[in-house]
Amino acid sequence: MTGKSKVVELEQVVIRFAGDSGDGMQLTGSLFSDSTAFAGNDFATFPDYPAEIRPPQGTVAGVSGFQVHFGHKPVHSTGDLCDVLVAMNPASIKANMRWLKPGTIIIFDSDSLSDKALEKAGYTSDPTTDGSLNEYKLISAPISALTEEALKDFGMDKKSMLKSKNMFALGIVMYLFNRSLDSVYKYFETKFKGKPQVIEANRTVLDAGFHYADTWELFANTYEVHAAELEKGKYRNITGNTAMAWGLMAAAERSGRQLFLGSYPITPATDILVELTKYKNLNVKAYQAEDEIAGIMSSIGASYAGCLAVTTTSGPGLSLKSEAMGLAVMTELPLVIIDVQRGGPSTGLPTKTEQSDLLQALYGRNGDCPLVVIAAKSSAGCFYAAFEAARLALEHMTPVILLSDGALGNGSEVFKIPTMADMPTIVPPIAKANDLEYAPYRRNPETLVRQWAVPGTEGLRHRVGGLEKENVKGNLSTDPTNHQIMTELREGKIERVANDIPEQEIYGDKNADLLVVSWGGTYGVVRTAVEKLMAEGKSVAHAHFSYIMPLPKNTADVLAGHKKVVVCEMNRGQFAKYLRMNYPEYKYEQFNKVQGLPFTIAELDEKFNDLLK
């Protein structure tokens, strides 16, 4: 650091790295987040990328973005409007105009400008000169040319050299935020182990970007965000999908059951499967099946045979698994079904986020077919949500649908590392060998949970399946009253899960004028918006639901006593409908967004202020 420019302290910053798919923006963003972790900031990240692997170059549709929100205070959301936009081509500016605010610093690769590039991006004139970016601080730098210049002695071809231009841009941003380059060097050394020339080339470009920003005094100021006041402890950065995988392994360890995952690749849930295939050393059996149905059916088979069985999917896959979920309900076997929701219906928006599978999760099966539905609230929180889904499935002998979403799954957050000894023990109702009292559908009278008689156990041979069974004994039965009894028992068993989950919390005054209700992955942004209004002295409270079926027992108390209740969700009002059905005595306002992108604090703020008028 030469210290030429003045260092300004900031509370929090949002940076978005944007470029063509294939420009390496996801990597650039990740590397910046790593350095953010080392600087001790709290942070959250959000990748925003197209479904195609290499969509048409230079077009708005082909822009891939990665956003990092970091701060000195706790960061709940991935942020919305940017303080800094790194744009590797004109399309990246065009695609991200809506995320800019007056004063946003745009770091732009001026070498990407050409008539053709402008045309591809849909510009009729050059935005860098026509005045349309006057509100912002545009820093045009010849990033491509300078990258080539830096690498001229490496004997590389032009195409290979230009692959490193993202590192030049990263160097500029690292300078802007007074970051040490050590974490990035370390990445190069690990990633390109045994290829010293590649390590050196990347280092050279990164350094060149950093020094260019310094030498050319690109910025009037540089910025610094002080370390966050986080609880003492050990931390790591984790994505929601990784946290989900790890939470499942934690539950396997705490229950003494082998973890089995039967799954089929589907965006944005694939990474859970990818992650779990790595941990054969921890006795995980992750099975890539031939289709979604085989994914869940192999899991049901593994569950019957005594595993903590899991299947992972996204919306279209959840549809395909419906019949099998009914089988798991009927056979009353533990099963975790993780749905990382994306935009729907049908193939919908595979890489974008939404919360529109809720009603399907609750009701999308033939027959009266109740199961437990819970939702993860943050990327790091996916660890605990997965653990809880496994606990409920194993201890209550039921399928559990755990709803995550694309933003949570791909987003990352700072994660305080727990100690396994502090996690609860999970105790499934395993039937004892040669128990003369054992019958497949004999239940614990309090919880209505049946026992799990695992093949291989002496004296417990029995048959289960999708056909209706005689109460207690488990023989086939088509007796009309028996079906009524069994249907009610299955329902009662799920209702009684409410005795085993925490009460619904309310954040803020329980009689606040406005109660903001949300569920699942919108926690961070909604909480941030509510906190902002509270700081302004507004009468607002927040109830964020993680348990959906069954709802916490005190839900009615939480909903009571407000002038207005607004339910915010990324669908057309599914949770609002569900609350209306269960608690018709209250009136529910709705705030719904289905644009494939998370809520912004600004739009929530505006809605809440309107409701408070």
Partner: protein, 338 residues
């Protein structure tokens, strides 16, 4: 393999639930043959699991006194795969029909064959949908009139043997429901095979496809229309044991021993262990009236099983890993302390 110490008998494997198949249905004979073979496996009763899909055949698990799982239509192979992967010590038997296995369950069937997961699949082939009362299946012969093909079907059927071998099955056998002793012996060989075994049983449905296999199993024709595949023996058949199968060029042909200079030495000797699928595929393909139907173990080749391969990788990873529990994992890689 037989374990005399357990002293199990057929009766140990009768569940006591009322068997609800139609009187005279071929399913009874298959049930009996399976119950005859289970005591001979050397497995404890509790280490056997029967998994099925949907259809008449798939009621099977309820009638066998082992662990049993009656799953959903077409998906038994996927469920059985999960059971076997969860606990490879279990002997897993999968019961399915021609509709369950080759229509709705076709995808799971071919992939189970390809993976060579160590389960024993018994396919009851009556060439009709019985439980839904008589619609054509993917194994119904072209032109057959059924409830949903009143003018006769206008599509060609699958031959399950060709399908299985084409999908890389390492074991394929064919049996007839009229020969219980032979069936039991074939099931025993299926059990002894390491990897996926597919046994097609030509099974008669009294109600909806009665007599569909009569040209193969009928008392008058069976010796001329069945050729028993016995490893290492020539493929000789016929009432007078004077007919045989020869390989001429790239094709099989039926010949008569003693005619046109043909001697027993010219007859093709069955080799169930050849890796190449060519002759096995041709044997599975044989159909009357030109050919007898091949009965017995047509293919039985050695290949790594999916479950063993997975367990080997797990053992290897465990032995070579520095991460041995979730705490190790959580604290691995990049972390920082505040």
């Amino acid at each position: 393999m037989e374990n005399q110490n357990m002293n199990l008998t057929k009766e140990d494997f009768v569940s006591g639930q009322v068997v609800k198949w139609c009187p005279g249905c071929g399913d009874h004979a298959i049930l009996s043959a399976v119950q005859n073979v289970l005591p001979r496996l050397g497995k404890k009763k509790e280490d056997i699991v029967v998994v099925s899909g949907i259809g008449c055949s798939s009621r099977f698990p309820y009638y066998v006194n082992t662990y049993g799982f009656h799953s959903i239509h077409g998906r038994a192979a996927a469920a059985a795969t999960g059971v076997k992967l969860a606990n490879p010590n279990l002997s897993v038997w999968m019961i399915t029909g021609d509709g369950d296995c080759t229509a709705i369950g076709g995808n799971h069937f071919i992939h189970a064959c390809r993976r060579n997961i160590d389960i024993n699949l018994i396919l009851f082939n009556n060439r009709i949908y019985g439980m839904t009362k008589g619609q054509f299946s993917p194994c119904t012969f072209r032109g057959t009139k059924t409830k949903t093909s009143p003018q006769g079907t206008y599509e060609d059927p699958f031959n399950p043997g060709e399908l299985a071998i084409g999908a890389k099955a390492t074991f394929f056998a064919r049996a007839v429901d009229t020969n219980p002793k032979e069936m039991s012996d074939i099931f025993m060989e299926a059990y002894n095979h390491k990897g996926m075994s597919v046994t097609e049983v030509l099974q008669n449905c009294m109600i909806f496809s009665n007599g569909v296999h009569e040209n193969i199993t009928g008392k008058d024709v069976r010796e001329d229309m069945q050729v028993k595949c016995e490893h290492g023996k020539p493929l000789i058949f016929g009432k007078d044991r004077n007919k045989g199968i020869v390989l001429r060029g790239t094709q099989l042909e039926v010949v008569t021993i003693g005619e046109n200079g043909i001697t027993e030495k010219d007859i093709l000797v069955h080799d169930k262990t050849r890796q190449d699928t060519g002759i096995h595929m041709m044997l599975a393909h044989m159909m009357p009236p030109e050919f007898p139907v091949a009965i017995g173990v047509i293919r039985d080749v050695v290949a790594p099983t999916f479950n063993d391969s997975l367990d080997e990788i797990i053992a290897n990873e465990k032995a070579n890993s520095k991460i041995n529990c979730v705490d190790d994992l959580l604290n691995s890689g990049t972390t920082w302390t505040i």
